[in-house]
Amino acid sequence: MLRSRLFLLAPLLIFLALAYLIPFLGVMRWSVTLPEPGLGQYKTALTDPLVLSVIWRTVRICALVTVLAVAMAYMITLLWVRGGPVMRLFVELCILIPFWISVLTRAFGWLALLSNRGIINTWGQDLGLLAEPLTLVRNEFGVVLGMVHFLIPFAVFPLASAMRAVDERVLLAARGMGASRARVFWQVFVPMTKTGIFGALLLVFVFALGFFVTPALLGGGRSVLVAELIWLRIFQSPDWGLGAAISVIMMVAIGLLLMLTMKYAKGPGR
């Protein structure tokens, strides 16, 4: 039985090894050999003010994006799981349609809406609502907006499974004991879904850390995040070693976060 399952998994494992593991081992090798053998690039990555400022900005933006995306996803999921049939359908469309549209298309969509000569600014000026165009993209605001929009659906699924597992009778019991709806929500429902919240936070944060397209397009080169920095090191400047070292650091950090997620998911339960 086990053997036949492994057999079914084999194509995926072989693909992952060829497409990810072997190239990643190559990247690891660059990080300790370019331009000369040693751990020099790691030292640079962890001390260079430019690299550190990008890492710091990445963590800061990703944390903000994560909190915003999960908070919004929580409200949406609540409507999805506990709303009436019409509301459910509406929410499904709102979650699924963006999910199907490519990330690139969505980023360009935001540009069309938000750029200096985009819909909001031209209409706002034409209608006399805006004297000057608002700077909505090519800054952190644009990056956060685009990332939150992209990442909300990813937070919805872990939240939905946690909310579906909540026994309705527990909520009824709380109300029967005289608790107001607000109290039932904050003191019973939210704590009962906290594994889902934690899972959604980690999932979104991990995705956000490695995000490339949206920040690159909506940040317009002004608020560079780690993924874009790696790209710049490898494609724009001949500094493969440093790019590789930052990649490895990211991989290790994300790996640790994922291990934390799995440990928590299996751990003390709710």
Partner: protein
């Protein structure tokens, strides 16, 4: 408490203060719906619910102040036993000292001393049941509503919890309204049993009366086994029989009130029957009999008092005292 309940399907019921009323019926009979209307989680389309003469049909559940124990206990999984019991007290805004005293008393009352800091997941089904009971009674509600609280427990534990429930009912003096589909449970616990079927109240009376004087055939057949013999002109299958008072075309007798003999009894009511089958149940043996006319009759006899050498196919007699039967 003195309330008059009139619910959806022409149901009118008055529950007295401190009573233990059981709503009994097969699934889908409306007993749970009725309980939900009492709790306020469902609203009747028409009718009225009053508590001590106060109208409360429209009162939302959180304002009724009733205690409720749900099927599956509905404990807060993220809180300890003590926190679960303290929740309704915190909702009431009681002082910390008052809450901890009350929680301690409740934990003691349901016999969970030493388990106060555990989460529900670390407790057995019976223990979770006790927490649910303690939580529902912590704020001394005038009425405690219980929706099949023992359905998840095994038979032995269920018996224990029933004893406990009776003790707690007596100690607290709270009015209990209890939903179950287990007839033994209903008979053992209740001061009165309300039998539901197809959304209607069939009978409400003390356990003994419901069992011994059921008001209709459904109630008679739902509670325990019963033998129903068609009567024509004071005769059953051509034999003259002394009938009890009452109207109806059938004589109904509980199996435990019928005896067995190998020869025709000299006095009393008797019918010749054929033994079809014997089922050994330990202390009792169940005998499946059939009259000459093919009517099935069941007997429960102490195994020790069974005649020797009885085997399926034997021609025997069954007899009963006229006063033990009733007309249906």
């Amino acid at each position: 408490m003195f309330g008059r309940f009139t619910a959806l399907k022409d149901i009118s019921m008055t529950v007295g203060r401190g009573e233990f009323v059981t709503l009994l019926g097969p699934s889908g009979s409306g007993k749970t719906t009725f309980l939900m209307i009492l709790s306020g989680f469902e609203a009747p389309t028409s009718g009225q619910l009053t508590l001590d003469g106060r109208e409360m049909t429209e009162t939302p559940p959180e304002a009724r102040g009733f205690g409720m124990v749900f099927q599956g206990y509905a404990l807060f999984p993220h809180m300890t036993v003590e926190e679960n019991i303290a929740f309704p007290l915190k909702v009431q805004g009681r002082s910390g000292a008052d809450i901890s005293r009350r929680v301690r008393d409740m934990v003691e009352m349901v016999g969970l001393g030493g388990h106060g800091h555990k989460r529900p997941a670390g407790l057995s089904g019976g223990q979770q049941q006790r927490v649910a009971l303690a939580r529902a009674l912590a704020y001394s509600p005038p009425v405690l509503l219980l929706d099949e609280p023992f359905s998840a427990l095994d038979k032995n534990l269920r018996g224990q919890m029933q004893d406990e429930m009776r003790r707690i009912h007596q100690e607290t003096g709270t009015t209990f309204v209890f939903v179950t589909h287990d007839q033994e449970e209903a008979l053992a616990l209740s001061s009165r049993i309300a039998i539901f079927e197809k959304g209607q109240l069939q009978q409400i009376a003390p356990p003994r009366e419901v069992y011994e004087r059921p008001s209709n055939r459904f109630v008679a057949e739902f509670l325990g086994d019963i033998n129903i013999l068609p009567v024509t002109a004071s005769q059953i299958e051509g034999r003259a029989i002394h009938l009890p008072d009452g109207t109806g075309d059938n004589l109904a007798i509980r199996p435990e009130n019928m005896g067995l003999s190998l020869t025709e009894p000299t006095c009393g009511n008797a019918l010749p029957v054929e033994l079809r089958d014997l089922t050994y149940l330990g202390a009792e043996t169940r005998l499946a009999l059939a009259t000459k006319g093919g009517v099935a009759v069941t007997l429960h006899m102490p195994t020790a008092k069974l005649p020797e050498g009885l085997a399926p196919g034997a021609a025997v007699w069954t007899s009963w005292e006229a006063s033990r039967g009733f007309m249906l």
